[in-house]
Amino acid sequence: MKIRWISTPYIVWMIMFTVVPLLLVFFFSITVQTDEGITFTLENFKKLSEPIYLKVLWRSIYLAFVSTVICLLLGYPMAMILAGTDVKRKNVLIFLFVAPMWMNFLLRTYAWLTLLEKNGLINTVLSLFGIKPLNLLYNNLAVLLGMVYNFLPFMVLPIYSVLSKVDKSVIEAAQDLGANNFKVFTKVTFPLSLPGVASGITMVFMPAVTTFVVPRLLGGAQFTLIGNLIERQFVLVGDWNFGSAISIVMMILILISMGIMSRYETEHVGGGFFG
């Protein structure tokens, strides 16, 4: 009884700020406003299936996918290094790794502008060696860089927390049984770390696929991503119905990817959303 009483504010909070808004978004997505009032329709979803919007959707997923893969490739070794070092050095490393995150996300992205622009820091240094200024800013690579830079910690930290809990004796047992380092990694360490990898992937993919600040600042708004499209429907066009439809499709995609990921997470204590 007591526990239920404690949970009341949380339930009220979730109803007010999650359930009701979700229902509203869903309601908007299946209606349009006409002169006669509100009518139910699937027009918004049909509009989204036009090639031009599919292209936008595809580009967003592609960029988010690539940045997730890069984050994984860069993040996994980092997590292993963190998990492998002794406590004293570990704390310093984690501090150095996390400290930039204390700064505002926008500021960190703005900082990249200063580094990458034509008369920016990197090009100025290059010019000292007689290298002509490179076009580093305002392209897909700059957008990818921005995503990887901003989301990398979300990949490293979950993997690290799983790896640091792996029982050392399991690895020793594998070594005693004659496995070399490579075998130990592929047969023992990596499979044990899968829950961390899975939550790392979801935590990077989700913000990456919906970001609209990074493509605007580092991509020079040259490429509309799905996040930009949604933002514009609400702020500029005032077509809340179409904006909601895109959001719903986005949510379904994320739900599916989380569903796939949670298959790996279920074996872990605490499970995923579908566990």
Partner: protein, 363 residues
């Protein structure tokens, strides 16, 4: 977008941050103690003013309070759309707002504005006649002009060695990856339409498609579509040519003398920001006093001098520094702006613009 400040470059961000803090500071007492009586006996009336960030000499608000005993609660917005959304949704109850021309038309159409009684605004006589009876408010019933300006090309004289007098230069292969466009559907599509010789208010599907194709064709030449950063980029010589608002051009020219500004011969966007009273206003009489105060030549001069944009107030212009008055960026001749057009709000076009813009940026 249409505002500047001379000394501090990133004032805008600071202002936004301050606005946020202000909002928080205001909302906390609101949430904790809703007891504060409004308009109680002997209590000061508070006038809620909603303006572009950094678009007023803030001592003006103190002077107003001194003169009339009316406190001014000053808040700022960053885009017309932000302001519109806030007023339309009823999230903010403002007595005064200062939107741009097309937005004023939209708000009139949607019945979001109160009429202004010009009899209460004796200083209205200082507003030059050419700024009256404009298309967005043909009978001067809803708005009083505050500032005006143009859209044009800001260019770096060390990088561009030919006369700049046409939008066509933004389609010149020579300047590949040295062109900055505005991240604004309205402005960029307007530029393309005018480059092609059409009206920027065109709703003809063929003309709009031609503009779309022109922008797609131009895309590989464009370095980026940017917003307020355009000023820093041009001052820092990151690009040779940029589409800017005249007020930003004045600011950039002061910061970097290599820059100059041209109004293309095809014409450009002639814009106005004007003072209005939203429907949600609770102090109509005080709001009219405030409008009259802003039209006072002394006060209008203070604002024009501080902001650097062009004032429609004949009294204020007489007091302005002759060097600013003779600067054609701020006060162009009638000849320079003869082809310029004023944006007209057209609800049907908003969705079409966004579709065009998606096609351009999806390539």
């Amino acid at each position: 977008m249409k505002h500047i400040k001379y000394n501090i470059k990133h004032k805008k961000q600071i202002v936004k941050f301050m606005a946020l803090i202000l909002l928080l500071a205001v909302s906390v007492p609101l949430m904790t103690g809703c007891g504060g009586s409004k308009n109680g006996s002997g209590e000061k009336v508070v006038l809620n003013v909603y303006n572009w960030g950094d678009y007023i000499d803030e001592t003006v608000n103190d002077l107003f309070e001194e003169k009339y005993g009316i406190k001014v609660n000053y808040e700022t917005f960053a885009t017309n759309e932000d302001m519109y959304t806030k007023i339309k949704s009823g999230a903010g109850k403002y007595d005064i707002a200062i939107p741009s021309d097309y937005m004023i038309k939209r708000m009139i159409d949607e019945n979001l504005l109160n009429k202004i009684n010009l009899d209460n605004i004796p200083n209205y006589k200082y507003i030059e006649d050419r700024f009256k009876n404009l298309a967005y408010d043909p009978n001067n019933e809803y708005s009083v002009p505050y500032m005006w300006g143009t859209v044009g090309i800001l260019y770096n004289k060390t990088m561009v060695n030919e006369p700049v007098d046409s939008w066509k230069i933004l389609w010149d292969e020579k300047y590949a990856k040295q062109i900055l466009m505005l991240d604004s559907q309205r402005e960029s599509i307007g530029v393309a339409l005018q480059m092609l010789g059409y009206s920027m208010n065109s709703d003809n599907p063929e003309e709009l498609e031609a503009a779309q194709n022109a922008l797609i064709e131009q895309k590989h030449l464009v370095l980026a579509y940017v917003g307020d950063e355009i000023k820093d980029k041009m001052i820092g010589e990151e690009a040779a040519l940029a589409v800017v608002w005249s007020g930003d051009a004045i600011y950039c020219k002061r910061e970097n003398p290599n820059l100059d500004y041209a109004i293309p011969k095809e014409g450009s966007n002639l814009w106005f920001d004007a003072i209005v009273i939203p429907k949600t206003a609770e102090h109509q009489a005080e709001a009219e006093k405030y409008i009259d105060f802003l039209c006072d030549p002394e006060i209008a001069f203070k604002n024009a001098d501080y902001i650097g944009y062009s004032s429609p107030n004949s009294g204020a212009k007489e007091m302005l520094d002759p060097s600013l008055l003779s600067d054609k960026t701020a006060y162009p001749d009638d000849e320079d702006i003869k082809n310029c057009e004023i944006f007209q709000y057209n609800e049907k076009l908003i969705k079409i613009y966004d579709e065009i813009w998606t096609r351009i940026t999806a390539e």
